[in-house]
Structure formats: C-alpha cells, structure tokens
C-alpha cells in the first residue's frame, strides 16, 4: 500500500488543493530616494497595482548633508502633495526604498528609523548596479544598508516591476 506522501504528492491530487484566496492585500509603499529613481517610480505608478502607493523623497537628496530635517515636510506623493512619513509608514506592510547607485540616498535614514519605530519591514533597491563604479555603489550602500532588511542591487529597472508583482503589491 503506498504511503500517504506517495498518494498525495501526485498531479491528480494537486487538483484538490483549496482554491480560495489565502492572503489579504498587502500595503506596499515605494519611495524614490533620488531624481534617477524618481523617474522609475513615476513610470511604475502608472501601472495597475493592488495596494501599492508611490512617493518621492528626492528633494531630500538635494539638501546638503548634515542639515537637520523634521520628520514631516519632505515626503510627497506623485502629485506633489506633502505626506507625513509616520502616517504613511504606520499603514504599511512593506516599505521599498529605491535609489540609484552613486546618488545621495540620505533619506533612507529617516525612512528606516520610522520603519524601525513602527516595526515595518524595509527593502532597499539600488538601480544601475552593473554600470556603477565600486565607489558609487559603496556610497549608496552605506546609506541604505543599515536600514534595509533586504537589499537588492539590480542592473535593470524592469526588475522592480517583477518584484512588485511577485510581492502582490
């Protein structure tokens, strides 16, 4: 007599798997940290998503390093409306920070601290990793790494779309 495993692991038995939703929609916030990633995020925002919302923090990148910023006033949606970081992070299941290799990603610190405070997972995504010099990559890495629970260095922009689909964003 076949074992239970042998009986249930057949293709025929796979037909009896429960065909009902097994998850609720996730709230994913995607934040562009610099002008290069801003264009990518704006393009992504035009596609159809479940619960993904897109933000821009690139204004932060153009500020001189070391300037003190408040938690509010520098994050905006794609229409240019100012958003409160804490409010946005509070309702998120995942925050994805998108940066371009060699660009200033200092906003990652504030976002990362907010996510840490609210116990929200973070993913850092660095674009242009294939073309960047070691120095460029190290600069962006040093800003993102402390605040990313997962960090991806991608050569092409089309990875983000695949990643968001895979994560049911």
């Amino acid at each position: 007599m076949p074992s239970e495993s042998a009986r249930v692991m057949s293709a025929a038995e796979a037909r009896f798997r429960i065909n009902a939703p097994n998850s609720k929609p996730r709230h994913v916030k995607i934040i562009a940290l610099d002008s290069g990633s801003e264009a990518v995020v704006k393009h992504l925002a035009q596609l159809r998503w479940n619960n993904a919302t897109f933000f821009i923090a690139s204004a932060f990148a153009s500020e001189p390093p070391g300037r003190r910023f408040s938690v509010s006033g520098w994050l905006s949606d794609l229409a240019g409306r100012t958003k409160d970081l804490i409010d946005e992070v509070k309702g998120a299941d995942l925050v994805i920070m998108v940066a371009t290799a060699g660009e200033n990603a200092q906003a990652a610190t504030l976002i990362g601290e907010a996510c840490s405070l609210k116990r929200v997972n973070t993913t850092g995504l660095i674009l242009g990793g294939g073309a960047a010099t070691d120095e460029m990559l190290s600069k962006t890495l040093s800003q993102l790494r402390p605040w990313s629970l997962m960090l991806v260095i991608a050569n092409s922009e089309d990875y983000i779309e695949d990643m968001l689909i895979a994560l049911r964003a």
């Binding site: 993913t123 990793g129 790494r145 092409s156 994560l167």
Partner: protein
C-alpha cells in the same frame, strides 16, 4: 507569485518550449561517467528535457546519446547488444553508431545502401570531471565546453553524486537559492554533520539567527549574500552563487570542501539533483569520501543500484516524529538533501506559483525568475545567447568572508568569487 503563463514558461522544458530552448543552450550533466564504465558496457536509459534517450560507450570508447527507440518497429534499444562499434537492436538486428546513424540492416542487401537512409536523433556526449555532459541544442550553436571548477580539478579532489527528485526542476532549484530556510529546515545539522562541523563561521551562524540578505546581479546570474554581525564592526558574509539556468554553489565552511548543485529536468515533473563537492587545492580525504557516499553533507544515500533516495515519498521520507518533537531534527527527515527534497516534493509535481505569498527575503528567488524569464525572451525573440553559456560565467566560486561593514561584498570579495586554480577558497 507568478502568473500561470509565466510559471508554464519556466517549468516546461520539453522539445519546442521556450524554457526547453533555454536549457538546450547549455552543456548539461547527463550521466555520471561511472554509469558507462567501459567499452561495450550495457547501455543506459536517459530521459532529459522530456526526451527518451539511450547512452552507450561503443567498442572504441566513443560515447553516444541517441533516441532510445529503434527506427524499425519502435523497440527500446536498451535491450540491444553493444558490439563492434555500435548498438544492435535485439529484435531484427538493426545497428546504430554513436551518432545515431544506422550502419546495418541485416534484412536489406548491403549494396542497397538502405541503412544510410536511417538515422536516429542523437546528441553529443563528452566526459569531463567524472560527468558525461550533453548538448541538446542546434548543431550550429554548440557552446564552449563546460568549465565549472569542480569539473576541472584532479579526480581525487572531487566527489559527484546524483539523485532523482520527484518534482519540477524549478522548485528544486529555488530551494538552492532560498538562503533563509537554512535557519529552520536544517537547524542543528550544521554542527553535527561531519562535512560542515567545526568551522569558525558556524559560530557566527549560531550567534546571529537573523541574517540580512543582499541580492546582486552577476554576469551569469546572481550573488546571494547573507550577512551576520561579526566582531570589530565587521560582517560575516556567506555568498551563494547562482548561474543560469540551474547551477548553485553554497558558501563553504572552514577547510571543508566547496559544494553545490545542478538541477536538470528529466521531464516537467521530475529532475536530477546533481551534487558536487571539491577542494581546489587538496585531495578529499577517505573520511570525507566515505561521509559523502554515506549521504552526509549535501549528498543522499540511494537505494543500491539506483539513484532514488532510500528515504523517499513511498516511505514518507522515513520521517522521525520523535526526533522532531525532541528537537534532534527540525523537520524529522534526516540529512540536508532529503530535508530539501521532501519539502520541495511536497509542493506537488509542479507548484502553482499563482497561490504563493512571497516576502522580501525571497528576492533571490524573485530575481532568479526575473533573469530566467528575461533570458528566455531574449533567446526566443532575438536569439541572444543566455547568461551561463560563456565559460567565464562558469568560473565562479561561492565564498564565506568577513568584511568591513561599509563594503559591497561583490567588490570586496571579487577575487574570492572567481575560480582561481591552485588558490584556496575564501572560507571561514
């Protein structure tokens, strides 16, 4: 998640499928060399990429991989006689050489030349590193010969095994790049398995159970780095290599051998899991070889005379619920290889990825699928040679290193991630 059509693209590798075309761009491991140990030895049935084939070594030592069935009445040539430069069908005596060319049809006059009109499909079969490799793609696009480091070191520095895995290749391969499962499924085994224990790096694993992952695209595939805190403001990195379509290499431990896998589709519901261990600068010891033969490390003990694991779905993988309950084994299944295989086979022959809920630590898997899909499209649409065909993409190593916190492992460990003849692996 993947949409059904994407899942089909990646999981179907039979003739005429886009995924099959991708696999047919590479030299693939087909048999262990020991399966055809001498001239005129018995032929061996081989199914690869949903094609039924027969491998044999003729009286001159030439290797052949041909259609399994005689062109006359469809009889399996496995019953044939391997004699005098060819394989003769035992039904009516038709005879084929290693290229599949029919060289004798006894019922037809020799001068009629009839036999020259009969030719079976065949693929080249070459021996390298204890493995017989085949290329199943277009004859005009034969790639350079494989240069994976394990296949280029002297024989006594290498051990290779293969085992049947009863599920689609992709879910098996994805286990090889799913670094986050190690802390659960294989918990406890790192410190007891003779092929892993004793390394200093194991202490970093134990001290920091929540690694942080970084996924970086490489020329041939991906680097998947798992970092843990180390002393003096440094990180301990374990860097896995993935090279398209299905090669993975796990970071080494201490002075143990380096190891990895290929997952090669047999058909869409079964694959071969190839497992290799080697050391770039020293012979493997008798104790190491004995442990590997005994199913330790990444290897698995198979039923005598077969490549089917002793623990398999027919015996519920010999799961030991008492060991699981007592904490001696996290899953209750013994050994790394069968822990992985049991879990992966439990998903069913081809897992429905439309139902899965991936999380951010699955980015290695997401990126591998992304690169596979992108490569299939580029191959089918533009005829682009996919990553992993170039021998430069194959000359890679996994690594375990301790690095300053601000450094990109891809750059700081650049040399450690390349195969360098005569140089020890970077291992902690």
């Amino acid at each position: 998640m993947l949409r059904k059509e994407q899942n089909d693209l990646l999981t179907q590798t039979g003739p005429g499928t886009p995924g099959g075309r991708l696999f047919r761009s590479y030299w693939l491991p087909a048999l262990l060399a020991e399966e055809l140990p001498e001239n005129e030895c018995p032929p061996v049935r081989v199914k690869l990429l949903s094609e039924r084939l027969l491998a044999f070594r003729d009286s001159d030592g030439r290797l052949g991989l041909i259609d399994e069935f005689c062109a006359h009445r469809g009889v399996s040539l496995w019953f044939g006689r391997n004699e005098e430069k060819g394989l003769r069908c035992s039904y009516h005596g038709w005879k084929y050489d290693v290229t599949g060319q029919c060289i004798d049809v006894p019922s037809e006059p020799e001068e009629s030349g009839f036999c020259r009109k009969i030719m079976l499909k065949s693929y080249p079969l070459i021996e390298r590193g204890g493995v017989l490799w085949t290329y199943m793609g277009p004859k005009e696009q034969v790639p350079p010969l494989p240069e994976w480091e394990f296949a280029t070191v002297p024989d006594h520095q290498r051990f290779v095994s293969k085992r049947l895995q009863e599920c689609n290749w992709l879910q098996a391969m994805e286990g090889g790049i799913d670094s986050s499962h190690v802390s659960f499924l294989h918990r406890g085994d790192i410190n007891t398995d003779p092929l892993f224990k004793g390394a200093r790096g194991n202490q970093y694993n134990l001290a920091d159970a929540r690694p942080v992952f970084e996924v970086v695209e490489s020329a041939g595939g991906l680097y998947i780095g798992a970092r843990r805190n180390a002393e003096n403001d440094q990180y301990y990195w374990r860097i896995t290599q993935y090279v398209l379509p299905s090669f993975t290499m796990i970071a080494p431990r201490g002075n143990h051998s380096v190891h990895g896998h290929f997952w090669i589709p047999i058909d869409d519901e079964n694959c071969w899991t190839w497992s290799f261990d080697y050391h770039p600068i020293r012979n493997l010891t008798d104790a190491e070889i004995a442990a590997m033969r005994g199913g330790k490390g990444i290897h698995v003990k198979c039923a005598p005379g077969t490549f089917r694991p002793l623990a398999n779905k027919d015996n519920d993988y010999q799961i030991d619920r008492a060991a699981q309950k007592a904490g001696r084994s996290y899953s209750g299944v013994e050994g790394f290889g069968m822990q992985d295989a049991s879990i992966q086979e439990s998903m069913g022959p081809i897992v429905d990825r439309a139902k899965e809920n991936l999380v951010s630590t699955d980015n290695g898997i997401i990126m591998a699928r992304h690169r596979l899909l992108r490569s299939i499209k580029a191959l089918v649409d533009k005829g682009e040679v996919p990553p992993g065909v170039d021998p430069a993409h194959q000359r890679v190593r996994s690594a375990a290193v301790v690095l300053p916190r601000d450094q990109a492992f891809k750059d700081a460990a650049r040399e450690a991630l390349m195969a360098r003849p005569g140089v020890a692996p970077a291992s902690v």
